[in-house]
Symmetry: C2
DNA sequence: GTATTTGCAAAGTTTTTGCACGTGG
DNA sequence: CCACGTGCAAAAACTTTGCAAATAC
């Protein structure tokens, strides 16, 4: 993880170059909070046309390897990237309204420890996504609170 | 969930017909434990050539809607289907060796309750996949225990 | 008999790749 | 300068769709 290093230092330390595209992608992920490659591309294009979708894919993969961003599986079949600038967190995603709630990794600490103690399994908290039904959607008898008419996934 | 109904009754109750293809797909998912559409297709083909890949996709979707199977996201961008015949469970998946450990929903009961109490969020346990590092891979300094040379995802 | 389901082939989406050109260090 | 990175276009991988033929009931 980038700890106290700047992203520039992290790239350099890995033997990678600082390019405008890499900065644009990193900034876009920070701005968006959570974003699929397509969304990152769209966000970058708002600031500059000087980027190609395949570069976005390559850059996201690189930044993920370097720990400057992380990805989880919030959408059905596209990874969703998020910044690692803040505290480590995981996600609750509502099946119905697709709202995403971010929770600090402290909230899962006890359960995480149980899995280590009993199974020797170390949870990757930053990658964790928990699906279910949020309070609002559970309360709505039909689907009044839904942004998305389809309750799939 | 299919509770005490047979799969035949569940299909009928939904107004759907009993077809050989639907039985073959359901059996394949039960046999495989966890499987992507491709793997289900391959398994079905071992018993019969009388099925088409698009039918597999359509059938998996239908069986999922009816609760006869469930899907989680174990692979990078393909849903993985599993039977609902046994007890409800969730999955631990190792990033490195890709081994899948199934745990009974009881194992997550306390944490599940915390999320309900504090956030009103009801976890969909059957859909839950937790990524991390298994005991064997944590012990292996380089990567001796890996089936998969790549530690991605 | 007839509405549902399937097979087939074609189209749609999303992601990856090869390669020549451009550029950061 | 020169190895690394990017744009472009084409290919690959995966999934969905339209429609005629087959079939469950």
């Amino acid at each position: 993880m980038a700890d106290s290093e700047t992203w520039q230092e992290t790239l350099r330390a890995g033997g990678y170059r600082l390019t405008p595209q890499r900065e644009l992608v990193l900034t876009a992920v920070d701005t968006l909070g959570h974003a699929t490659p397509d969304q990152v591309y769209a966000e970058v294009r708002r600031h500059s046309t000087a980027i190609n979708l395949s570069t976005v894919y390559r850059t996201l993969e690189l930044l993920d390897e370097l720990g400057l961003i992380r990805h989880a599986h919030i959408e059905e079949r596209t990874p969703t990237y998020h910044s690692t600038a803040g505290h480590e967190h995981f996600h609750l995603v509502c099946h119905h309204c697709r709202n995403v709630i971010s929770l600090s990794s402290e909230r899962i600490e006890r359960f995480r420890r149980e899995l280590v103690d009993e199974h020797g399994f170390q949870v990757d908290v930053g990658h964790l996504t928990i699906f279910g039904t949020c309070a609002a959607c559970a309360a709505a008898p039909s689907g009044e609170s839904r942004d998305d008419p389809d309750g799939s996934d």
